[in-house]
């Protein structure tokens, strides 16, 4: 059995090796560290084997003058950050976990707290070495085999196996982050708050309590951050911490409407009403959830799914309120949900972000989860938004097609490189009508 981070299993197993060229020769799908929540990294039913990349983690070159890095696709973001932070470099874009691989970062074209400013990870990728469906190995970049490059960035592993990634790291002035946070009392003010903060702060995002209703709908904590200047930072490096772990799968009833309500309210109240400013180490700033090993076991034996959508600017700022109203009406009990404003669309033909507001929430799996996702998707289609494939396990093909006018162009390119439809995943079988 094999599962994504949401712990909903399918039949399958990993084969692991240091040698990605060998490993991908017959593979139909690569899998990194399995941090996508749904079925993106899971194999199709008729070929239940995935090529596991994390042992292929060599750094091939690094230029300290330009920050240009080339590495094998299984290199973890944590190894990258920990290796280069002491030398004044950090990942140019990082999601909310660093337990992921370079290959997974490209395939999902991940975004982070700086999306409004620096775009997705793909914007910083200069070259990819790939094995395509017919077995050939070749390189692509924004200048060379452009179509393949654009279809692969955000292409969820369906256009070819990524063997090596070349990208530019960001130069940082110190090894510490200046973080500010404040309480926000409703969703409209949240959206304004994000916009305002984004002008001055490279990193912004918010946690909202999606169980509060009425005038408190969408209250939460807005977080902002930037790298500390050398004179603000303590000398020396932050020390990596030991992490506690959820030792076993908790029973399903632990996460329910009342515990979640209590948790969310406490999270809000624990923050003082005034703006709080601190100097923090980058790992606690960017990856608070990584501090607890196996936190996904908290949601019980049936697992959970994450729902993430972006509601475009064109839908007006009322869209986020309509989304949260629908959610609270349907009683989707989520712990904190994450809200973030997205900047411009990037080069990836199927990448998730576009200008607007992104909302992400965890949904423990219950009998009505499919109905809840359907209802949220109906709203997202109406608002002309879209969902994030790296999180998805329940979206129906018709909804996805309605959200993705770009799908046709991407599919054309994909077919050109893989006419027989060899490369596929459980997700592409479910969503894109690939053969099982």
């Amino acid at each position: 059995m094999l599962c994504g981070w949401g712990r909903v299993p399918v039949a399958g197993r990993e084969v692991r090796s240091e040698d990605l060229e060998e490993l991908t020769r017959r593979a139909v799908l690569c899998r990194g560290l399995g941090r996508s929540y749904g079925d993106s990294s899971l194999p199709p039913p008729s070929h239940p084997v995935v090529a596991a990349t994390p042992l292929a983690d060599r750094i091939l070159s690094f230029d300290g003058a330009t920050g240009r890095l080339r590495a094998e696709a299984g290199l973890s973001l944590r190894a990258l950050n920990r290796t280069f932070l002491p030398r004044g470099f950090y990942a140019p874009v990082t999601p909310g976990t660093q337990l992921i691989t370079l290959g997974g970062m490209v395939a999902a074209d991940v975004h982070g707290k700086n999306h409004h400013r620096d775009g997705c990870f793909g914007a910083h990728v200069t070259r990819l070495r790939m094995r395509v469906a017919d077995g050939r190995i070749l390189e692509c970049s924004p200048e060379e085999e452009t179509e393949l490059f654009r279809a692969t960035v955000g292409g969820m592993g369906l256009t070819g196996h990524i063997l090596e990634v070349e990208c530019r790291l960001a130069r940082v002035p110190s090894t510490w982050i200046v973080a500010e946070s404040e309480r926000i009392h409703d969703v409209d003010r949240f959206i304004d708050g994000l916009k305002e903060a984004g002008v001055r702060w490279p990193y912004t995002m918010g946690w909202i309590d999606c169980l509060s209703r009425g005038s408190l709908l969408g209250r939460g904590i807005l977080m902002k951050g930037r790298w500390a200047e050398p004179d603000e930072a303590p000398p020396g490096l932050p020390r990596p911490r030991r992490r506690p772990s959820v030792p076993l799968v908790l029973p399903g009833w632990v996460i329910n409407r009342w515990t979640v309500r209590a948790f969310n309210a406490a999270f809000f109240r624990c923050h003082l009403p005034r703006v709080r400013r601190r100097l923090v180490d980058p790992e606690s700033f960017f990856y608070p959830l990584d501090a607890i090993g196996h936190w996904n076991r908290m949601y019980g034996p049936r697992g959970f799914t994450q729902y993430q959508c972006v509601l475009p600017e064109s839908a007006g700022r009322g869209a986020a309120r309509r989304f949260l109203e629908l959610l609270t009406r349907r009683g989707g009990a989520s712990m904190l949900c994450v809200i973030k404003d997205c900047g411009a669309e990037g080069i990836g033909l199927l990448s998730f972000p576009k200008p607007g507001i992104s909302i992400a929430l965890d949904i423990p799996i219950r009998d009505d989860t499919q109905d809840l996702v359907d209802a949220l998707n109906e709203l997202v289609v109406t608002e002309r938004g879209r969902i994030y494939l790296a999180k998805d396990q329940f979206t129906r093909p018709a909804h996805f097609r309605a959200m993705e006018p770009r799908l046709e162009e991407w599919t054309c390119i994909r077919r050109k490189w893989d006419p027989e439809g060899r490369l596929r995943s459980a997700q592409s079988v479910r969503l894109l009508a690939d053969r099982p």
């Binding site: 084969v15 750094i59 002491p86």
Partner: protein
């Protein structure tokens, strides 16, 4: 520390060599395949951010090349404080029973060739007044078990040899570290069902490095395997005949 390292291209050797490079040890890599060696050397240089890592070809199945490979290492490093051997091969008992030639090769590589290599290394370390010889054996050499009869026998022999080196040369300054990994998730164990207490690469590397620094003659990695093997060694023959592990 100036270290000649046989087996840094993959698995536990890769992780251990990275820890050593990161803290400033000087490394020279030995291995059977030049392109893979070069890539691993570049990886270590990039991670350490300083120094350069030399390489030379050394195949355990070609003992005639051992002397030249260690010459190159000593010359490249300008000295030699430690030799680490993580290289080794594995196959399950079922596979080896079907393939006698492969069984012969595993016995040869994991015992005779490894011991021959260690003899070269130990002579050079002693000639310099002492040093550390680190060799990866296995918990499979602790008690005969059905799935690893042949491999276990080779590792049992290797363990005894290393114990003997320690007895014989400790007074002359040779520190022998016999590493006994439990089940560790590397490509060597790919496809095998992971037992309880399966180890992760980084953890194993940290445990082994600490043992090297202390000159500990025997180290189990992860450490829990010491207790697991204490129990397994105590099991009566009647149980071992019936047990599947």
């Amino acid at each position: 520390m100036k270290v000649a390292f046989l087996g840094a291209t993959r698995g536990m050797g890769r992780s251990l060599s990275r820890l050593m490079a990161a803290r400033g040890d000087e490394l020279f890599l030995l291995g059977r395949e030049p392109a893979g060696l070069e890539r691993s050397a570049r990886d270590l240089e990039a991670r350490a951010g300083r120094g350069s890592v030399g390489v030379a070809v050394c195949d355990l199945e070609q003992p005639a090349g051992f002397a030249a490979a260690l010459d190159a290492a000593e010359a490249g490093l300008g000295g030699l404080d430690a030799v680490v051997v993580t290289a080794g091969v594995f196959a399950t008992q079922d596979v080896l029973e079907q393939d006698p030639e492969r069984a012969r090769r595993i016995l040869e590589v994991d015992f005779t060739d490894t011991v021959t290599f260690c003899e070269h290394a130990r002579r050079r370390l002693l000639a310099r007044g002492g040093g550390t010889l680190v060799v990866f054996s296995s918990v499979a050499g602790e008690r005969a078990r059905k799935p690893v009869v042949l491999y276990g026998a080779a590792k049992a022999g290797l363990t005894r040899y290393l114990e003997g080196l320690d007895h014989r040369f400790h007074a002359q300054g040779l520190r022998t570290v016999c590493v006994k990994p439990g089940f560790v998730k590397t490509s060597m164990t790919d496809g095998l069902p992971a037992p309880p207490f399966a180890g992760e690469l980084d953890e194993v590397a940290r445990v082994v490095l600490r043992a090297i620094d202390r000159g500990q003659p025997v180290v189990y990695a992860p450490p829990i395997w010491r207790w697991v093997m204490l129990v397994v060694r105590a099991l009566p023959r009647s149980i071992m005949r019936r047990a599947g592990f």
